[in-house]
């Protein structure tokens, strides 16, 4: 493996970003961060990461909007997207899965489980 996998995390919560940064670096995954939806879309287009972790509950655009637009973009539609949210309701899970999300992690997240999911979608 000459190329480290790269994961874009779109989350407004700095604590989450910090924690994930630490966790991913330990797993040799390069984390890329965006604090909101617009920056996330822009960064995704520029970097073309291997995986996107997307928070649903964000100011301005919420996670569903970002998910929709990612799936609309031809260049990005194949990137797997794991939804990362405190919403535990079945409807939002269903909605996300219908919209094309690959998996679903609820906050506070279980570290091992989350890493397992991420690794599952990485090449």
């Amino acid at each position: 493996m000459t190329q480290k996998p790269r994961v874009l995390i779109i989350d407004d919560d700095a604590a989450n970003r910090e924690l994930i940064d630490v966790l991913f670096c330990r797993e040799n995954i390069i984390p890329l961060f965006a604090e909101d939806g617009t920056t996330g879309l822009k960064k995704a287009a520029e970097e073309i990461p291997d995986l996107i972790l997307l928070d649903i509950f964000m100011p301005k655009e919420d996670g569903f909007d970002v998910l929709f637009r990612l799936k609309q973009n031809q260049n990005l539609r194949r990137i797997p997207i794991v939804i990362f949210t405190i919403l535990e309701q079945e409807e939002s899970r269903k909605k996300a899965m219908e919209m094309g999300a690959a998996d679903y992690v609820t906050k506070p997240f279980d570290i091992k489980k989350t890493l397992d999911i991420v690794k599952k979608y990485l090449p």
Partner: protein, 1098 residues
């Protein structure tokens, strides 16, 4: 170098020597001052130039326990150096020396010597002591100044200075604050200048710069070249004073004249002569200077001891039969020596009396109060007479009749001496017992007791000119001969030889001898100059003495009538011849004529007095009316009175006088004599004694009284008359007029008696009647005399009382002055206190206001826990009233007081503060503080209770507590895990959620550091949370909330929770971060595999 050194030394030595030479003062000025003298001294030095060439020694009466500021004070007034005397210090020119306290100062060879005070009688006279030594050491270069002061210190000192030829200046009494010392000094009569202190420096400077005074002794020749002028001066003196100084020692006379010249600023004797002519009173001063005499009681102790032990007993032994002791003190000056001898004689008499009777002498046994003294005076003469007649009835000693004749040429001295009054200073010369026995203490000094004064008869007499006393047992003539030239000395010695009885004694001064008469006098002791008369031969007596006249003091001529005085002695011989001529003439012309005094005392007779005058047997009586027969007596008596009264001749004719065989018709002519009236009216009385050596004095009439004993009694009020006979003369004291009585008689046969009718017939009855009347008059007179004497006594008593009153008045005045000054001091102190009081009042007001404004109730209790004071704020809680002040605290009842009473006792017992919170009525709270009340010595003097109202604080505290409880409740039930930590990060509180999350109890959590390893918190990497990254450190430095601080809570590596902490700082009152509230939010976790699997499976 070595070459130069000796030279240097020499030079310095010369330098050292030459100032020494110029340092020697021209004169040494002694200044005596006491009370009030400071002002005078300051003024004096203000006017004294700094380069006068004089040395000043200030003798001030200093308080022994008070530091004198004299030096500092004087330093402001003079540029001269002021030094306090150290022993042996040399007096230098232009220096001022101060006597140190508690010392006596003397001067010897210009060195000032100190001596501790002698405690003799407690009386110290430092001025006298210094002045005497100054006089001895510096002689005519001594200057003595007496300034203000009380008492008489310095008085004897200036006499010594004057005697030594020095200058004496005294402050004017009026300018002196205290005139005791100046007055006493002026009274000596030896003072050269009396002036105010301002004038003194000028006088001194003029005096010392005078050629005769300022330069050394070479002026002797200068003045001798002006000899004619000198003779004129002496002639002037003689014409004014009747004393001829021609044969006095020239050196002495010249020195005294030079001194006076210095004082009146006359450059030559001629000038002085002119001055004398213009200022006749200067003659008196010169005269006084020439006669200057200083004597002391018991002067030369050794000699008087000898006199007392050897000579006095000898004299008494010599007179066992005659019982009369006569002593002549020649040149008695102020009388000390005369009284000394009288005291010695009296003392011996007293001791004889004691030996005889075994009891104390009468006079010393009774304290002399004045009335008693008056009695003695009246009784004594009679007693004496009685004793003489009946020996053995009274004491042995009373049998002696002692007379001390004290004479001096200086009338002023005699007048003073007769008073017998001496300054306090004599106390140092006399032994205590004699002083007490023979002196009375008066305000100004000591007075010789009356019985001693009675022994001494003072008279003005010129030993060279006036007739001497006779039949003497002792003559003292001390330090008089030295002033006389040898030929005069010889004359005097001849007189003494004549006057002394066989075995009589002559007492001379230390440096005097009997000269040529050593054969006639043999020395009793080799060392002491007392000689005994040998009764051998009679040395020739100078002619002039035989011509002795009763001394008539001429009226003082203002201008020197030189010629008249010069011929005086030459003409006396001529007069004698003339007298004899006239005597013969009168004898031829009249049958009998007599000269009588106005009182009828016979003075002189002419013709055949024996025909009319008969002396009755018994005591000699010179009253002419007693000497004529009874027939003439009445007429003569009446005639004399009328003649005196009417000043014209009275004549009685043909008074029958019956003889045995014959009858004479006698005529009397009584004529007042004009020529002799100018004679000085003094108390004159005649003792009527006739000496057995009368013939030698060349008087023919046996009835003629001895002129020498015609003595001038100086007017003392208590003059006693030694024998009864001349009592009457007292009435006629001022009548010195002379009358001539001429008797003329015609002899008739006795049988023809009835044929002749007398011009003035006297019947037997009338005669008898007249005699009765006369007796009655005599009786009345005696009554009157008694009354007068009683009045005199009463008067004396009154005078004495008056003197006492004056004295106490003076004392009161000085006390008053003292009180005034004390009063002033009190006023000052009072003013100080007033301002203190004002200050204190202000302070008190401040305190009151302070206590009122603080709303602090305060109660002051005294040591017995009685209320002393309280502030108004107390009244709100405890119902105190003004009248409760003074009541004991225990009497009062109030919930507040009840709860602190015990504590108050505690405070009082242990002297320590007690503080407690107490609840009053309602919801009021007080902080009660009980403190010991400390006085200025830090002693507990009671208790102070202060009540501070803390109701509001108490309420706020309660509210706060409630709020806190609510908050705690909220936190406790909050779902978020929350803890509170203090400034160090220690957990002070942790809510249920946190306890659950960590699965720990609050007990385990409390006081643990929340981020320590014990609680399993690490950072995300599992490292310990320390250093700058500690949350609490960040909060404290940033003072801001911290969000999303991530920590890892891991019990094992497989079981971990990641928390995001939101931290909010808490601040204390100083706005410092004293802790934080931390809220933990779980953001991720890792569960152990099992549970995970379980979870997955579920």
């Amino acid at each position: 170098m070595t070459d130069i050194l000796p030279g240097d030394n020499k030079e310095s030595q010369e330098k050292g020597d030459s100032p020494n030479q110029t340092d020697a003062p021209k004169h040494i000025v002694g200044i005596g001052a006491s009370a009030g003298g400071l002002d005078a001294l300051l003024t004096f030095f203000n006017h004294m130039p700094k380069d006068s060439g004089l040395a000043f020694v200030i003798i001030q009466h200093l308080s022994p326990d008070h530091k004198s500021l004299m030096g500092e004070l004087l330093a402001k007034r003079t540029e001269m150096e002021i030094l306090e005397v150290r022993d042996g210090m040399e007096a230098k020119a232009d220096h001022v020396y101060l006597i140190p306290p508690k010392k006596n100062l003397t001067v010897f060879n210009r060195k000032l010597l100190l001596a501790s005070l002698s405690h003799h009688r407690g009386l110290n006279l430092p001025i006298d002591v210094f002045f005497r030594s100054l006089a001895e050491d510096q002689e005519e270069k001594a200057i003595g100044i007496i300034l203000s002061g009380t008492g008489s210190d310095g008085t004897r000192g200036i006499m010594a200075i004057k005697k030594a030829g020095g200058l004496v200046i005294v402050q004017d009494e009026k300018s002196a604050q205290f005139d005791g010392m100046p007055k006493s000094a002026i009274n000596t009569g030896v003072v050269d200048f009396v002036c105010i202190p301002e004038q003194m420096p000028e006088i001194i400077l003029n005096y010392i710069t005078h050629p005769f005074i300022g330069e050394k002794r070479k002026h002797y020749e200068t003045i001798s070249t002006q000899e004619t002028d000198l003779t004129k001066v002496i002639a002037l003196l003689r014409s004014r004073t009747s004393v001829d100084f021609t044969y006095y020692k020239t050196s002495t006379v010249v020195r005294r004249i030079e001194r006076r010249m210095g004082i009146v600023q006359a450059a030559t004797v001629k000038e002085y002569l002119d001055y004398l002519v213009d200022h006749p009173e200067e003659l008196d001063s010169l005269y006084k200077d020439l006669l200057i005499g200083v004597t002391r009681f018991f002067r030369d102790k050794e000699e008087f001891e000898f006199l007392k032990n050897r000579i006095v007993p000898g004299i008494f032994e010599n007179n066992k039969k005659e019982k009369t002791i006569r002593v002549w003190v020649v040149g008695c000056a102020s009388g000390e020596e005369a009284f000394t001898i009288a005291i010695l004689l009296q003392n011996y008499m007293d001791s004889l009396y004691e030996k005889e009777t075994g009891q104390k002498a009468l006079i010393e046994a009774s304290p002399e109060d004045l009335s008693q003294a008056g009695n003695l005076q009246r009784e004594n003469p009679k007693n004496l007479d009685a004793n003489l007649r009946k020996p053995g009835e009274r004491g042995y000693s009373r049998k002696y009749e002692v007379k001390v004749f004290a004479t001096d040429i200086d009338k002023n001295a005699i007048e003073k001496a007769s008073l017998g009054h001496y300054p306090d200073g004599i106390a140092t010369d006399l032994p205590d017992d004699l002083l007490e026995r023979y002196f009375i203490k008066t305000d100004e000094g000591y007075k010789v007791r009356r019985h001693i004064r009675e022994l001494v008869i003072f008279a003005s007499q010129n030993v060279l000119r006036d007739p001497p006393f006779t039949k003497l047992d002792l003559i003292t003539c001390r330090n008089l001969l030295i002033y006389l030239q040898p030929n005069l000395q010889k004359d005097v010695m001849a007189i003494f030889h004549f006057s002394l009885k066989d075995k009589g004694y002559l007492f001379l001064g230390t440096s005097e001898t009997v000269g040529d008469l050593s054969g006639h006098f043999i020395p009793v002791d080799r060392k002491i100059k007392i000689f005994q008369h040998q009764g051998v031969g009679a040395p020739p007596i100078k002619d002039s003495l035989r011509l002795a006249q009763p001394q008539v003091y001429r009226p003082k001529s203002t201008q020197g009538n030189l010629n008249q005085t010069m011929v005086n002695i030459k003409t006396s011989r001529q007069l004698e011849i003339q007298e004899r001529y006239y005597q013969d003439l009168i004898n031829q012309l009249t049958e009998c004529a007599v000269i009588v005094n106005a009182d009828g005392t016979l003075v002189e007779t002419f013709g055949k007095p024996d025909r009319f005058l008969k002396q009755k047997p018994g005591k000699v009586n010179l009253d002419i009316t007693k000497m004529v027969g009874t027939e003439l007596s009445l007429a003569l008596g009446t005639g004399l009175r009328n003649a005196v009264k009417e000043k014209k001749m009275i004549q009685y004719d043909d008074i029958p006088v019956y003889g045995e065989e014959t009858m004479r018709l006698t005529s009397l002519k009584i004529i007042p004599l004009q020529g002799l009236e100018g004679r000085k009216a003094l108390d004159v009385y005649e003792t009527g004694k006739t000496g057995n050596k009368e013939k030698q004095t060349g008087h023919e009439g046996e009835t003629r009284p001895n002129q020498y004993e015609q003595l001038y009694r100086m007017g003392t009020e208590e003059d006693e008359i030694p024998s009864g006979q001349s009592r009457k003369t007292v009435y006629a004291v001022s009548q010195s007029q002379k009358l001539m009585v001429v008797f003329h008689s015609k002899e008739k046969r006795k049988k023809k008696q009835h044929e002749t009718t007398p011009v003035i017939p006297f019947s037997r009855e009338k005669d008898q009647h007249l005699l009765d009347l006369e007796k009655e008059i005599q009786y009345t007179r005696e009554n009157l005399q008694t009354t007068i004497e009683e009045l005199q006594t009463a008067n004396e008593e009154l005078q004495a009382t008056n003197e006492e009153l004056l004295a106490s008045n003076e004392e009161l005045q000085s006390t008053n002055e003292e009180l005034n000054s004390v009063n002033e001091e009190l006023n000052t102190v009072n003013a100080e206190y007033q301002s203190k009081i004002t200050e204190l009042t202000e302070l008190n007001n401040d305190m009151d206001n302070l206590l009122r404004s603080t709303e602090i109730g305060t109660i002051f209790l005294d040591i017995n826990l009685h209320i002393r004071k309280f502030t108004p704020a107390v009244v709100k809680e405890i119902n105190l009233l003004r009248q409760d002040i003074g009541r004991p605290l225990t009497d009062l009842s109030s919930p507040v007081l009840n709860s602190i009473k015990e504590d108050v006792y505690h405070v009082l017992r242990n002297v320590e503060k007690v503080e407690k919170t107490i609840q009053g009525e309602g919801e009021r709270y007080y902080l009660a503080q009980m403190l010991p009340y400390l006085d200025e010595h830090r002693n507990c003097g009671g208790v102070v209770i202060s009540l501070v109202n803390i109701t509001l604080q108490k309420k706020a505290e309660k509210a706060l507590k409630e709020q806190f409880d609510v908050m705690k409740q909220v936190l406790e039930t909050s779902p978020a895990a929350t803890i509170m930590v203090d400034g160090k990060g220690r957990i002070t509180f942790a809510n249920k959620a946190f306890q659950n999350t960590l699965q720990m109890d609050i007990q385990d959590l409390k006081d643990q550091l929340f981020d320590s390893a014990t609680l399993c918190f690490t950072n995300l990497n599992g490292d310990a949370l320390d250093g700058e990254n500690r949350l609490i450190t960040r909060i404290k430095t940033d003072r801001k909330p911290v969000e999303k601080y991530l920590v890892r809570f891991a019990r094992t590596s497989e079981d971990e929770i990641i928390f995001s902490i939101n931290a909010n700082p808490t601040f204390n009152q100083q706005h410092e971060v004293d802790g934080a509230v931390l809220t933990f939010t779980e953001i991720a976790h890792r569960k152990p595999e099992k549970t995970k699997e379980q979870k997955i499976t579920t």
